[in-house]
Symmetry: C2
Subunit: 437 residues, 2 copies
């Protein structure tokens, strides 16, 4: 998964000498794990709102980055960062209002049952902590994840990230089930099948003497390719998990923070209540911060016995930044605006799908939209998808591909993306497809 | 370990009403895992250099915090943060000079063999990544750690942090050995015994069919209580580890970044060469960043096959901040200054030890100094140590205690602490001890 759209010297485009030198320097200093995007990697130097600029001053519409959630270099977030970083930056073992004000504001966006929060620095750490708590609470070790899941990079969580490829082993007590594939012809079967797949996984755990601990899923199945419909389809699955004594961990690192354009949190689309919610990327608009929210009875024993501490998590600066991001989402009324921009993308690309048969399904929730590319005989078409990704880069639009076959355009821009930006995206895609077909 | 010096409502001092309200709010919002320092917790609002200020404007000498390594709110670091955060904050999959300039500068402080670096956000993530690479390179799963080790909070690394107490299980394939206890009467035996303990652990792994992967140690055995002498004592241990086909992971989260006052890195005190070095706390002067440096042949396969990526690690802002911290250490010539300040602490407290028999051993390397408190019959005296910690807080000095018996004063201030600040610390300690004895 993670090598989708990776630069490869063997198949690279016509790259400027300056980029060649930087790529060589990266390889030497950072080693082989560091990947670059695009056949012709982008050298960015500046960002503002939904726009980023390269070293030649060329402007790109950012349709890829969900981390700068309220827009690159948002002045309100910047002001909070500067103010607090120039005053005091300390951990949570001294009293300070910032972590409390941020915690209170964040929790106010959640269902009342999720009334406590703990802070980490990365979504990987958030999921790792959620896993530790779930194992502690249930006494189980079995975790159910989807086929092309991605939940992070710690040793324990890499073992629950089935998208990492054959080299990274899935945890032996974990069970991998199919993602709830989009099925517009028979929407009722999506949730039914997903729940049945969970029943089968639980039965298989029982056969192997594994006690179940949790279902850990990205609410929008982001790395699996993006599956959103029908709203509410998760309910039966969650009931099955709870009946088995296991917890439901909602990985909201990508679906959360208003991305659905309907609610603050992706799980609200399905009317379900998680036991633990993990948070990450958009929380700090780029500042490294993440965390979990949790129902207190689940945290009680672990919190008392295990004395978790995260040096940087919830520090005075991170808390100021996190609060500022929530304020922007509220003050700029971003959630309905996300809904409008997302609808414009869906409508625009659905219209293109009628003209370009290479486009299969188009689906989304707010500013997370997935566009499948398919061959004439109905197979996933990663060649076209990656050609589109690279052609859009040349057109001035940064975008990525995802899914187990790397054939799915992944559209998840900053939340300040408006319907006007959606039009720019749709036009660029139309240009690219017109040249290709 | 982590509850050493924790606030406890049952034994608390006379706490201002404002603090009581904040403590209640913390418990409600953050749950039971969050600990506060001191019987009377400190409410800090501002920091500058080695000084922090509480809400009443009272000033405290910061002898505890190694995270604000070049001093609270250092202007050069702040300027780098503001400049880059207001320009562009993106991940490492686009080309950008910052991560390369930072990587190059950081690696220039390391032995030539450690020529590649990967960036994470926390020391926990750094040790977790080091572990994954060591297991991959060796094919082993056995890790040797010390009795009261602390390496971080991910599930895998909490299982290698023996100081976490009985509730957090040590990984079944890990082996726990005694720390290399200070032995001024027979310094030669320190390294010999430590190497023999490793030989025994390796033999026990063989008996259990566990293939060894690594020795993971904090170079200064920080959480074990601080053991530094004699310089060079680690060499035999590392040879034993390498002879067994395992790697030496140097946890330099606390000993690194010039803290020894002699070298950039703690392991240089012992003349040994790690296979992987993990870095954390001081890297960003409070900005959440960490990483590993590594010998390229060890990273090669893992890096190519496992496609590690850390969303925030090495981003444009973190890299700018990290570079600025290294520049300050160099431009302000902090390493020799750390050596002078540390020597003044050692000498001052050694003189106090002659007057106050409660002080047992005083030992250190640069600005990491350990002071054991012992009872009259030679047992570890945590009651006195914690009384001193709380009394120093009232005297305007922030400090902590550590070690398996919580009887060891832990002195590890910001690196801009000078010999003049050392005198303030020594005088405050003299005052406190004079009142107590």
């Amino acid at each position: 998964m993670l090598k989708t759209n990776a630069f490869d010297a063997a198949t690279s485009g016509n790259i400027p000498a300056e980029s060649v030198a930087m790529i060589e320097r990266r390889r030497r200093l950072l080693g082989p794990a560091y990947q670059l995007f695009y056949k012709n990697p982008v050298h960015l130097v500046r960002g503002e709102g939904v726009w980023v600029y390269d070293a030649e001053g060329r402007r790109y519409l950012d349709v890829y980055n969900n981390v700068p959630s309220v827009g690159h270099c948002h002045p309100h977030v910047l002001e909070a960062l500067v103010r607090q970083a120039s005053t005091l930056n300390t951990h949570t073992r001294y009293l300070h209002e910032n972590v409390l004000n941020f915690a209170e504001k964040l929790l106010s966006t959640m269902p009342a049952e999720l009334s406590q929060v703990m802070f980490t620095c990365t979504g990987s750490e958030a999921n790792d902590l959620a896993l530790r708590i779930a194992e502690d609470f249930t006494g189980g070790t079995g975790v159910i994840v989807t086929e092309f899941s991605y939940h992070g990079m710690t040793k324990a969580i890499a073992g629950l990230s089935a998208s990492m490829g054959p080299y990274v082993k899935v945890n032996g007590d974990a069970r991998v089930i199919p993602a709830p594939i989009h099925h517009p012809a028979d929407p009722a079967q999506v949730g039914k099948k997903f729940a049945n797949d969970i029943r089968a996984a639980l039965a298989d755990m029982r056969r192997h003497g594994i006690k179940p601990a949790a279902l850990m899923i990205d609410t929008f199945f982001t790395s699996d390719g993006g599956f959103f419909d029908p709203a509410g389809f998760l309910q039966e699955a969650i009931d099955v998990v709870h009946d088995a004594g296991a917890l439901y961990i909602a990985d909201e690192v990508q679906p959360g923070y208003g991305r659905s354009g309907e609610h603050w949190w992706g799980f609200q689309r399905h009317g379900v209540l998680p036991d633990i919610v993990s948070l990450g990327k958009p929380m700090g608009n780029g500042h490294p911060m993440a965390g979990i929210t949790i129902q207190p009875h689940i945290l009680e024993r672990f919190g008392n016995e295990s004395s978790y501490f995260n040096t940087f998590g919830g520090n005075t600066v991170s808390s100021a930044v996190g609060l500022a991001v929530l304020e922007v989402i509220e003050q700029e009324n971003l959630i309905p605006s996300v809904g409008r921009a997302g609808k414009a993308i869906l409508e625009g690309i659905s219209a293109l799908a009628e003209r370009f048969p290479a486009i299969g399904s188009v689906r989304g929730a707010g500013l997370f939209v997935s566009v499948d590319f398919m061959t004439a005989d109905g197979a996933p078409d990663s060649i076209t998808a990656l050609a589109v990704v690279n052609a859009l880069r040349e057109e001035g639009v940064l975008i990525g591909a995802s899914g187990p076959h790397a054939n799915i355009l992944k559209i998840r821009p900053p939340l300040v993306f408006t319907a006007e930006h959606s039009q720019i995206l749709v036009s660029a895609l139309e240009n690219v497809l017109s040249k290709m077909f």
